[in-house]
Every structure is written in structure tokens, then in C-alpha cells.
Symmetry: C2
Subunit: 213 residues, 2 copies
């Protein structure tokens, strides 16, 4: 298909497609004449993935580039590939951190058998948690770290559902990595929306209980 | 304190503080001379809140302005105030949506007793879920909606922990609203980090089980 049809089928405007081509987020089409390129289904699929990462995942262009590089890398160990992807799609806030929060995160990770000092793979997770607890502390929320345990218990249920879903779809390592990116980014957005809904449900439930007292 | 000390205590550079003042994210200090203003603890606290919203919540300046307006509004019903805050801090992706995803979200909300057509309060949640399912479908993930049920079950646990935390801290409606903003934004970031950790834990658990077969 020509760029016009690619645009029509993806809903992405032609100038944006050309921008992604220049930025290397979309591989070049096959030239059919000096001014015309031909695109196929793989371009359409990649374009939709870029849009999901940008629009739903709110990733920067450079984070999208890193995520795609991880998906496309010739690295064959799934473990390493997933690590690269996870690093690419996780943005760590650049906020001041404090020592007590560092220690709380270390303690939490140790309780769950993750020793971040020796476990470079979990470095982003550890930095992200530390940033969150530090930001909370700077706002007077000194005990926010106590939320991590009930969160983790609930997330173990979510991780089971996620892995069943991702592994259930994948026919190859590449499939699995793409599934992991999509499932992680879209799942984050779904969790954020549902958390707000769960707050409303729980808050109404408590209001009703109070009325009955 | 002067702007220099405000900067030192918050870790926010003076030019950024001046930018926030111009953008109305921080109330003006009390002028002590034509070129000098005095700031107090309330400015420091507000400045830290702005940083948490920008750095951890990744909110745009205009979303921060809306969130602060909700916190400061004279609206006295907690229910309405929380609705305003939630709307301000929830960014809905601007992606093409499809009719099947719209129906799946309606069905899901109806199963949980939320009827979005009559329930304007949940409009953002409904739009966000629809955007997620539509993006998933465009990538060939037609059954992503099946993830919503296990997610919701886990989020009910999280919502209980969240409300215990938020209500436990709050001494007034204003306290509660600020606590809700902080708890929602920081909690989202913590959940995203812990979900990646839970994936790693679960994936290693399964790899070990396979080794034992």
C-alpha cells in the first residue's frame, strides 16, 4: 500500500508517519519509484504499536525507539530481552531522594527476596519506588511505604493473570516480547483507570455502611 | 523565607519557582520590598506538591493547575471535590476507538453496577478503558477485555488499603482531598513499579516449576 492508505488504515496522519520514518520508528518502505514507497501489513502493525506506546503509554519518542530496539534485537534469551524492554518502557522520575526511603525500599525488596544491590535487573523498580517514597515523605507522608505490602499482595494476583495472558498468546519469543510490551503498557493504563473506579466503589460502600449505623 | 531558601529547602531551582509563580501554580509571596517577597511553610508544601504532580505524576502544567483548583475550590461536598480532582489528574489518551470496545466497557461497567450513561462521574474511567481496549484490538489483542475482571478483583483489595490510608490521615475535607491527590498519583507510580516486580517474581516461579517437571 502507499503512504496514503497506510494513513487511512492506521488513523495516523501522513506527516506523522513521515516523522516516524525520519526518527527510525518505522522501517522505510520499498521504493517503487524515486518518489513513491510501498508499505505492507508489517508497517501497519508497527505503526499501531508506536501509536499505542505514544498515546496510551505516553512514552517519549526516544523511549519508543529503545522499546522497539529491544523488540527487534537479536538477543535470543527471553529473560534478557524482557529486561531490555522493561528498562525501555519504565520512566524513573528525576526527584530528590532521601536516605530513609532508600532503606525502606531495600527492606521491602529484601523481604520479597530481591536484593537490589546484587540484582541489577531490578534497578529501575528500586529507583522508581525510592522516588515515590521520597516524594511522599517530602509531602509529610512518612508512612507511605506501608502501602507497598498490600499493593504487592494484590499485584501477585495481577501478575498471574498477566502471565497467563501473555504466555497464552505467544507463539515465538518475538511474539512474547511484543505481547509483553503491549500487555505492560495497556495493562498499566487499565489498572490506573480501574483503581479510580475501585476507589469510588469502596468509598460508596463505606458511606452506605455509615448510613446504616 | 526568601525565594533562595525556598529553592534550597525544596530542591527546586529559583527560575522554576518563578515560572510556577507566573503560571499560577504557586501563590505569590508577601512583598517585603518592591523586589523581595517572603514565603512561608505553606508555599514550601505547595511547591513540593507541584513537584510530585509534575515529576512522579507526569502531569502537564495545565493538569496541575486543574488539580490545585480542585483542591482549593470552595466546593464543600467531599464527593464533588474528589470528582473534580479525579478528573484533573486522569489523562485520557486521544486514540481512535472502536464500537466493540465501547460495548465491552459498557458490559464490564454494568456487571459492576456502574452505568456510565447515567453516571457522568465515571466518564473518564469509561473513556480510558475504551481507549485501552481499542488500542489493544488494533494490535490484534481482541480479548484484552478479559483481563479487566482479574484486575478489578485485585484492585478492590488495593482500594481498601488506599481508603484506610487516606481516611486515616485526614483531619478535614481539605486534608482528605490533598491526601487523595498524593495517594492517587504516588500510588499509581508505586503500582506500576511493583507490577514489573511481580511479573519478574511470577515468571521466575514458573521457570522453576518447569525445571522441576
Amino acid at each position: 500500500m502507499r503512504v496514503g492508505e497506510l494513513s487511512k488504515r492506521s488513523g495516523v496522519p501522513v506527516p506523522t508517519i513521515k516523522y516516524y520514518l525520519r526518527e527510525g520508528l518505522l522501517p522505510a518502505g520499498v521504493l517503487t519509484s524515486p518518489n513513491q514507497a510501498h508499505y505492507d501489513e508489517s508497517h501497519l502493525r508497527r505503526l499501531r504499536l508506536v501509536r499505542a506506546l505514544v498515546d496510551v503509554g505516553e512514552l517519549s519518542i526516544s523511549a519508543v525507539r529503545d522499546a522497539l530496539a529491544a523488540i527487534d534485537s537479536s538477543e535470543q534469551t527471553m529473560h534478557k530481552k524482557l529486561g531490555m524492554v522493561q528498562e525501555a518502557i519504565t520512566t524513573v522520575p528525576n526527584t530528590p531522594i532521601d536516605e530513609r526511603s532508600v532503606q525502606e525500599v531495600k527492606d521491602f525488596l529484601a523481604r520479597h527476596g530481591r536484593h537490589e544491590d546484587v540484582d541489577a535487573e531490578h534497578w529501575e523498580i528500586s529507583r522508581m519506588l525510592t522516588a515515590v517514597l521520597s516524594a511522599a515523605r517530602s509531602l509529610g507522608h512518612d508512612r507511605f511505604h506501608e502501602q507497598l505490602e498490600p499493593y504487592m499482595a494484590a499485584l501477585e494476583m495481577i501478575a498471574k493473570a498477566d502471565l497467563d495472558y501473555m504466555l497464552g498468546r505467544a507463539k515465538s519469543v518475538d511474539d512474547l516480547v511484543e505481547s509483553m510490551v503491549v500487555g505492560t503498557i495497556l495493562g498499566d493504563a487499565a489498572l490506573i483507570a480501574l483503581r479510580r473506579m475501585a476507589h469510588a466503589v469502596e468509598s460508596e460502600r463505606r458511606a452506605k455502611e455509615e448510613d446504616q449505623v
